[in-house]
Amino acid sequence: MEAALKPPRRSFVREWILTVDHKKIGIMYGVTALFFFLLGGLFALLVRTDLLSYKGLFTAQSYNEFFTMHATIMIFAVIIPLLTGAFGNYLVPLHIGARDMAFPRMNALSYWLYLVSGIILLLSMVFGMPDAGWTSYPPYSVQSHGPGIDLWVMAIHLSGLSSILGAINFIVTIHKMRAPGMTYTRMSLFTWSMLVTAYMQLFGTPALAGAITTLISDRHFGTVFYNSAQGGDPMLYQHLFWFYSHPAVYIMILPGFGIISEVLPVFARKPIFGYHAIAYSSVAIGFLGFFVWAHHMFVAGMAMSTGIPFMISSMIIAVPTSVKIFNWLATLWSGSVEYTVPMMFASLGFIGSFIIGGFSGVIVAAVPLDMNLHDTYFIVAHIHYVLFGGSVMTIMAGLHFWFPKVTGRMYNTKLGYLSFWLYFIGTQVAFFPMHFLGLAGMPRRIASYNPIFQFWNDVSTIGAYMLGLGTLVIVSNLLYSAKRGRKVAANPWGAQTLEWTISSPPPEHNFDDLPVVSSNPYQPYPEPNANPNPTPSPTPAPV
């Protein structure tokens, strides 16, 4: 009997390379993306090191390549694949009580396309790196010599294809493969956020593909989409680019919002406050996210008054986000808050930092204020509070929350707290001074600068080194603990979503018996005297 229960031993190739299991694919996404996180972080440190001196320590050309690689890697090879590829793949089938994704082979194809896209970015470090920024605006990106931009276009195309295939998979899986009783309003909030994210990827990514296809066509095939001397218009690219890339900002934060909505109630020992408000505000963000793109282009050549509708829509999209913030705060209210590592990242780390990015977003959404702050360090501060104080904090909350589920082991919590404080303080030290620099008029993307800006640049670089150190602590802690960590039970946090009802790590087929669901996974916790081990209410039952 015992031998029959043991999973069969398989070769590495069969176990990983040929796998179509959503959990293994999720892990491969996660490990690959963490590797690129280290690489993208290295480029960030090169950028900040250059700025230690107002003269710039590297050549302007190298600096341009560093910040282009930093942003491209972080956006396309780290944050999007981690949130959708790793967390989404691993969790969505488990959260809805499914055996796997709807199209397991297509899911594997998504991962391998992503990996090839990442390898192309790596190859560009050998053959010539792109130097036109992650936005790659023509005509500069058309003129730029060497294979850098071409490799960049190939990498983005493959990553976009991987996104589109993944999005189709999530949409079909969530609509069609929910367990009996798993109505839409009993789904986890993470699943809700992934559903909206998948629709945004499906509708947005083709615009990006169009932008970069015309770009490479202008570079090599003699077309004139962006050559104004022959009737083209560089602004077309910006419209296409931002039609994807503003929704991409929400693609990079909505799954993170979902993670926060899972972590907070578990460690506050409370039901999530305002389930419907949080779920529907994600839908509102997904819809409104397609109507704000031109707020990146207030000074790009549109009539100034053309910015007004985009200013109003950008103001309105802040409302569903603030609804979430207030609901999360209300979830903490009257809770029983346990200061675990994921809870620190989710509460103080994420909410405490992200709102700064949200508020500075209100400032730059106002056309007259953006006329001053556009393309200054104020914008750099804003995006880093949103993407680092926001997305990366949610990723770290999620990694430390689901690590015991994925590995069956616990990490070193002392190192976990150390990395949290390095991250939290490092974020403020690295990114808050950038507001001052922007208000003082320092443009972004410059390798050398006016000496009056040196002090706050040096402070910011110190913060960046703290973040680098924190990242090393996190990655080494998690890697070591995955093999050597203390073994833990199936549900060490007392969480209520379905994945915690099965063993850690979960069996390949996920659920021994198809779960039957009778409520959403955010139920009140019983008094400890009544039951010392709170049992999640949607218990799987045999059908």
Binding site: G56, A60, Y137, P139, Y140, Q143, D233, P234, R269, K270, P271, F273, Y275, V299, G301, A303, M304, G307, I308, M311, I312, M315, I316, A318, V319, V323, I325, F326, N327, L329, L332, W333, S334, G335, S336, V337, S347, L348, I351, G352, I355, F359, V362, I363, A365, A366, V367, P368, L369, M371, N372, H374, D375, L439, G441, R445, I446, A447, S448, P524
Partner: protein, 216 residues
């Protein structure tokens, strides 16, 4: 923030501080609630489970409507500044601005042509008529809180009226749209002059430029 040279930029700073005040209020509110709840409701032996509360519709409506009203108010309030920026006054002094890799060229009404040397008369309406000869640049004058991209094949504009108290002072005019390796050093100087000094400078420059071009 650096000096604000125009009436317009001073009122934009006013708008900035007003918006900053509103968001600082909410920032402090959220941080105080966050840290307050984390500390007040921490897990203790007396507090092992949280309250069995699922939500409250009145609160949801409240914290949807209040931010919505404030945000739309900020937007609506900003509209008049947009039109004030956009609609140029009648008969301004027009200075043509042309971005090159990697310098700013300025063409004055009498034909004078300078590189990285921008002179504006104080107390007069000056309209910048901006374009680019190659890639996209960003014509940014932080001291007047305004910028427009210099886009090939397209003309963008903004106007200023610099107050006379700044006569004699010089300000940086950086390119703030990424344009390649020369981007960081693509900085022009803007000198504010009295109208009389501006006119005589234009005359002298014109004679000098004519003599150099006839010599060559």
């Amino acid at each position: 923030m650096p000096a604000a040279l125009t009436h317009m930029s001073q009122s934009v700073d006013g708008l900035f501080y007003w918006v900053l005040g509103v968001i600082t209020f909410f920032f402090v509110l959220v941080e105080v609630l966050l840290v307050g709840f984390l500390v007040r409701y921490r897990r203790t032996k007396q507090n092992l489970v949280g309250a069995a509360v699922h939500g409250n519709n009145k609160l949801e409506i409240l914290w949807t409507l209040i931010p919505a009203l404030i945000l739309v108010a900020i937007g609506v309030f900003s509209v008049k500044y947009v039109y004030a920026d956009q609609i140029a006054p009648a008969k301004p002094v027009v200075i043509q601005v042309i971005g090159h890799e990697w310098q700013w060229e300025f063409k004055y009404p009498n034909g004078v042509d300078t590189v990285n040397d921008l002179r504006v008369p104080a107390g007069q309406n000056v309209l910048f008529d901006i374009t680019s000869a190659d890639v996209i640049h960003g014509f940014d004058i932080p001291a007047v809180r305004l910028q427009q991209d210099a886009v090939p094949g397209r003309r963008t504009q903004f106007w200023v009226n610099v107050e006379s108290q700044f006569v004699g002072q010089t300000f940086d005019v950086p390119c703030d749209q990424f344009c390649g390796p020369g981007h960081p050093t693509m900085v022009a100087k803007m000198q504010v002059m009295s109208p009389a000094a501006y006119q005589s400078w234009l005359q002298t420059e014109k004679q000098q430029q004519n003599s150099t071009s006839s010599n060559s």
